[in-house]
Structure formats: structure tokens, C-alpha cells
């Protein structure tokens, strides 16, 4: 594994961003493979117009056609090109994943930092709330909320983001509890820094390295959550995500294997890539943290 420096007060990648790449490179198989998988799906979604001439929403006369040169992934029951739907669906799935993760990581970081820094009753209350959120069946809560409030991209993003913060909050809280007793915090406190300054300038940068791990796992879980909602019929038909494609594929499972195989493959590849990346990154960061004892 990685060699730990004896006193890592601030992760190297904060000061030298290029070391993120170095960290990934140190975790040969897992991290790099994850990064590659994620890169492929991001490029596929971004470059969709260059990769296929077909329109994901355009109806065609050739319905439920098997994969061919004209339609590499086949067509669906309305004659729409599945390759185009998978590529453009990536924009929806990845977009929802990114935005929801931004909400959940931001919220989790704030709550975790406040709980870990102030401790006492505030910590106790925040942690009870966090536990409650963790125990509740997140996806079922999301289903009920979206059913009642209405589906749509924004609602999906908000609901997933607002329900997914506890994991990040707990990790960050644990980190902050350790950092809180470091000497550089005491030094900053003695030179008159108030709690806001301490949190923003001294603690937040030290938590950021963990957020990178958290963020990639959160994007993965948000994409999964979105596919869950879409699979239950709560997706936005105007913006078909991979989950929505899988829901439509379910109806024709016996006749058209390509309707479920390809969107599912894209979904699985992305989630696996993000999980591998998160694991790789955490491997390279967890080592110094553990050796401190």
C-alpha cells in the first residue's frame, strides 16, 4: 500500500492538485479502471451528437428492430434508436447524479463539520437527526415525495440530494473530531480565529480530500436512486434516463433483449466506475489517517 508521511496535516492534493492523479496511479488496477470507465461514459454523453446521427426522441417506422448497422443497439417499440437513447440518456443520468451529489455532499459536509466542531448538545441533536435519516428507507421516501409533489428533473435532483447527505455527514464529523485537536487548530484559535474562520480556513481544506471519495460514491448512489425512481415510472419521459429506458425495456423483455441490455450496461459501467474510483481514492487517503495513531 502507500507509504504514509509521519505528520500529514494537510493532504498533498490540496496544495498540489496534480497529486490526485498520482494518488489514482498508485492504486493501479482499481482506481485507474474506475477513472477510465467514468471517462468513457462522460465522453459518450458529451459527444453524443458526434457518435450518432439519430435523434433519441424521433419516432421511426422500424419498430423493435434487432441491432444492425443502421441501429447498432436496435430500436424500441416506437422505432426510436436505442444507441441514441443510451448516449443522450447518459446526459440525464449523469446530470441528475452530479447535481444531487453536489447537494448531498454540500449538506453533509456542513452538517458534519458543525456537529464535529461544536460537539455537545448540537452534535447530539444533529446526530439523532442523521441517524433517523439513515434508518428511514430513503428510496421509498423519495418515491412517495415524487409521486405526490410531481416528477421532473428538478424535483428528482432535490429529493435525492436532500435524502442522501447522512453518510457524508458522518464521515466528515468523524474527521473533524480528530482534526479539532490538532496543534494547528489550537494555534489558529490562539491567534484569535473565530469558529467560522476556523471551519472555513483550517478545517474545511482538511476535510476536502475525504469529500472527493464521498463525492464519487455519492454520484454513483444518486444515479442508482434516479434509476430506481425512473424504473417505478416516476422519471421524466421528456428526458429519458437509463432507468426510464430499463422501465420501458421491462415491457418488452421477452421480445427485445437489446432494450434492457444496453441501457443497463451503461448504468452498471458508470456506477461500477464511480465506486472503483471512490475505493481507489479512499485507499490512497485512508492510509495516512490510520497511521497517525
Amino acid at each position: 500500500m502507500t507509504l504514509a508521511s509521519p505528520l500529514p496535516t494537510r493532504p498533498a492534493w490540496v496544495t498540489r492538485p496534480l497529486t490526485v492523479l498520482a494518488a489514482v496511479r498508485r492504486q493501479p488496477a482499481a482506481g485507474v479502471m474506475g477513472a477510465l470507465l467514468v471517462l468513457v461514459t462522460i465522453l459518450g454523453a458529451l459527444l453524443a451528437p458526434f457518435l450518432t446521427a439519430a435523434d433519441p426522441l424521433a419516432l421511426g417506422s422500424d419498430t423493435l428492430a434487432e441491432p444492425s448497422w443502421a441501429h447498432p443497439f436496435g430500436t424500441d417499440d416506437l422505432g426510436r434508436d436505442v444507441l441514441a437513447r443510451v448516449l443522450y440518456g447518459g446526459r440525464v443520468s449523469l446530470g441528475i447524479g452530479l447535481f444531487s451529489a453536489a447537494i448531498s455532499v454540500g449538506l453533509g459536509m456542513t452538517i458534519g463539520m458543525v456537529a464535529g466542531f461544536f460537539g455537545g448538545l448540537l452534535d447530539e441533536v444533529l446526530m439523532r437527526i442523521t441517524e433517523a435519516f439513515q434508518i428511514l428507507p430513503k428510496l421509498l421516501v423519495a418515491v412517495v415525495v415524487v409521486s405526490l409533489i410531481g416528477s421532473g428533473l428538478l424535483n428528482e435532483i432535490l429529493v435525492i440530494g436532500l435524502l442522501s447527505w447522512p453518510a457524508t455527514a458522518r464521515i466528515v464529523r468523524g474527521r473533524v473530531q480528530v482534526i479539532r485537536h490538532e496543534e494547528f487548530i489550537a494555534a489558529a484559535e490562539m491567534s484569535g480565529a473565530g469558529p467560522v474562520r476556523l471551519l472555513a480556513r483550517h478545517i474545511a481544506p482538511n476535510v476536502l480530500s475525504f469529500l472527493l471519495v464521498s463525492a464519487s460514491l455519492q454520484v454513483a448512489s444518486a444515479i442508482m436512486s434516479e434509476s430506481f425512481l425512473s424504473f417505478l415510472g416516476l422519471g421524466d419521459p421528456e428526458h429519458p434516463s437509463w432507468g426510464l429506458l430499463l422501465q420501458q425495456g421491462q415491457l418488452f423483455l421477452q421480445q427485445a433483449w437489446w432494450l434492457t441490455t444496453f441501457p443497463g450496461l451503461a448504468l452498471a459501467m458508470t456506477v461500477l466506475g464511480l465506486n472503483l474510483l471512490g475505493d481507489g481514492l479512499s485507499g490512497s487517503h485512508a492510509a495516512p489517517a490510520r497511521s497517525r495513531r
Binding site: 428511514l136 418515491v143 405526490l148 417505478l232 415510472g233 421491462q250 441490455t261 443497463g264 461500477l272
Partner: protein, 323 residues
């Protein structure tokens, strides 16, 4: 032993109560927050004026908000979740009809996944860093990353559509209603694919957490002492390391039970399994909100109870927690 455990169980139950109340309150506010008239939401689309008036009176929707909440809370606490718009039956009755199928599916998957997951996790931890460990860890990460419903769909494509070995869905054969032992056989036959789908997700999760906990346990002094005393490898692994790691495994199963139930929901949809998950799906599509919110409150209650039981289970496994 019993009094301490009993006290703990009572304390856990008291801690769970606010959570149950929170779920009910949340559902109540959600119905009020949703666009439109709460009565219309609970009565479904285009209700007859009589039914609308009945719902309005039933929930006291003409009364002030706090009175409505008290009425809603009182009803929910006694298992009165309203009337299903579609089937016109009490929601609670509909849920209880479907619940056993979900218990059968999740229970079986849980038992199989725990056995295999713990074995794999322990085998992986014992040879931490070896090639076998890397293989098991990689496989469980892949399994963990696969969307459950897609795994189910692929299994159907392979075993039901292509090979025609197993049924693609349902709980019993459509033609011929069997009784007695033949019925049990028939259900078991239909269970193979859905249970396998759900177990893949559970198994990889349990294997991952068990491995982590076992690696940590094997590093402890008590393992060293046990080894020094000449205990066999197997004894050290299961009696010393696993007894301690099991607490983590049980905690994880409890904490992730919400995910397990969500997994069961999609698996039931893929395999047309007549359980609670299928009910969610039907309720969403028929816009049967009384049924949907009822099923939600009921599932949340199940999750909270499982969590409580897993907490108590941990205390039974580890006397240190009992205090």
C-alpha cells in the same frame, strides 16, 4: 441476562417511537404540501362528490390543521391508513394481504445471502492481500454496483427466455392451481430467480462489510492470545474473530434494511411477485395515494422495527453494548 436485555429492548422501543411519529407527521405534511386539495389526493382522480365528502369527513379536512393532524395520527397509530381508491378496501387489509409474499422473498434471500456473504467475507479476510481475496473483493464490488432490477432482467433473459428453464415471473403457475406439497414446490420454483437477484445485492454488501470487520478483528490482541494458547485456526477465526465481527454484520443489515426493502420492491416489479413492492408500483400508476402513503408508512415501520431488532441482536452478541 434477561432483565438487562429486557431493559435494553424497552429503551430501544422508546427511541423508535419518535421516529414512527416523525414518519406519520412527514406523511401528513406531504399530503398537505402536495399541489391540490388533500381530499382530492386521498380520494383519487375524478371522485364522486359523495366519496369526496366521505373522505373529507373521515379525515376531518374541514377542521383546523392541528385537529386534522391529531385525527390522522390517531388513525395511523391504530392501523387505519384509509381506503384504497382502486380496490375500495381498507389500505391496511390490502397491505397485510401482500406482506407475506414480501417476507418470504426477502427472508429467503436474506438467509442465503448472509450464509454465503459471511463465508466469503471471512475467507477473504483470512487471506487478506492474497489473490483469492482480491478476486472476492473485486467480485463483490461489481455485484454491489449492478442495479438490482437489471440483474433480474438479465436472469430472465438467460434462464427464462433463452434457456426456458425457469419461469419469468409470478408466484405460482398460471394454469393448474396446486395444493399441498405440489404448491410448495411450485412457489419454490418461481422463487429461484427473484431470490437469486435480491441475494446478489445483499450477499456482496454483507461480504464487503464482513471482510472489513474480520480484518480488523483478526488484528486484535485477543486473536493473538487465542493463537498463543494453541487454538486451531478454525476456532480462532469463528469463535474469536467472527464473534466480534458479527456485530458489524448485524448492524449493517439493520442499517441497510431500507435498501433491502427498496431492492425487494424493484425485484418484485421485474418478476411480477405479488408483494408489497408490486403494490407500490400499482399504487403509483393508479395514482392511489391513500394506498401509496399507507404502504410507505407500513414499510417505514417495518424498517424501524428491523433496525431495533438488529440493535438488540448486537447487544446479545456483544455484552459490552448491553450496558
Amino acid at each position: 441476562m434477561l432483565p438487562a436485555l429486557l431493559r435494553l429492548s424497552l429503551r430501544r422501543a422508546l427511541l423508535a417511537l419518535p421516529l414512527v411519529l416523525a414518519v406519520i407527521a412527514f406523511t401528513f405534511f406531504l399530503i398537505r404540501l402536495a399541489p391540490g386539495d388533500p381530499a382530492a389526493i386521498l380520494a383519487g382522480e375524478a371522485p364522486t362528490p359523495e366519496f369526496l365528502a366521505q373522505v373529507r369527513a373521515e379525515y376531518g379536512l374541514d377542521q383546523p390543521a392541528w385537529r386534522q393532524f391529531v385525527a390522522f395520527l390517531g388513525k395511523a397509530m391504530t392501523g387505519d391508513f384509509g381506503t384504497s381508491i382502486y380496490s375500495k378496501q381498507p389500505v391496511f387489509t390490502v397491505i397485510l394481504e401482500r406482506f407475506p409474499a414480501t417476507v418470504l422473498l426477502t427472508g429467503t434471500a436474506m438467509v442465503i445471502a448472509s450464509l454465503i456473504g459471511i463465508l466469503l467475507g471471512a475467507a477473504s479476510a483470512r487471506r487478506a492481500g492474497s489473490r483469492a481475496d482480491a478476486l472476492i473483493s473485486a467480485a463483490s464490488l461489481v455485484g454491489y454496483s449492478l442495479p438490482g432490477f437489471w440483474v433480474g432482467q438479465l436472469l430472465i433473459l438467460l434462464f427464462a427466455v433463452s434457456l426456458n428453464w425457469l419461469p419469468a415471473g409470478g408466484m405460482v403457475a398460471a394454469r393448474g392451481s396446486y395444493t399441498g406439497w405440489r404448491h410448495v414446490e411450485d412457489v419454490a420454483f418461481h422463487m429461484v430467480l427473484p431470490v437469486a437477484t435480491l441475494a446478489v445485492f445483499l450477499l456482496t454488501m454483507i461480504a464487503r462489510f464482513t471482510r472489513a470487520a474480520m480484518v480488523e478483528a483478526l488484528d486484535q490482541d485477543y486473536v493473538l492470545v487465542a493463537e498463543a494458547k494453541g487454538a486451531s485456526r478454525r476456532r480462532v477465526l469463528w469463535n474469536h474473530a467472527f464473534r466480534n465481527a458479527a456485530v458489524t454484520t448485524v448492524t449493517v443489515i439493520g442499517l441497510e434494511f431500507g435498501m433491502v426493502l427498496a431492492g425487494a420492491v424493484v425485484v418484485e416489479i421485474v418478476f411480477s411477485w405479488p408483494g408489497l413492492g408490486r403494490l407500490f408500483y400499482d399504487a403509483i400508476h393508479r395514482r392511489d395515494f391513500a394506498l401509496l402513503t399507507g404502504a410507505f408508512m407500513f414499510s417505514s415501520l417495518v424498517v424501524i422495527v428491523v433496525n431495533m431488532v438488529s440493535d438488540i441482536g448486537c447487544a446479545m452478541l456483544d455484552p459490552r453494548i448491553r450496558r
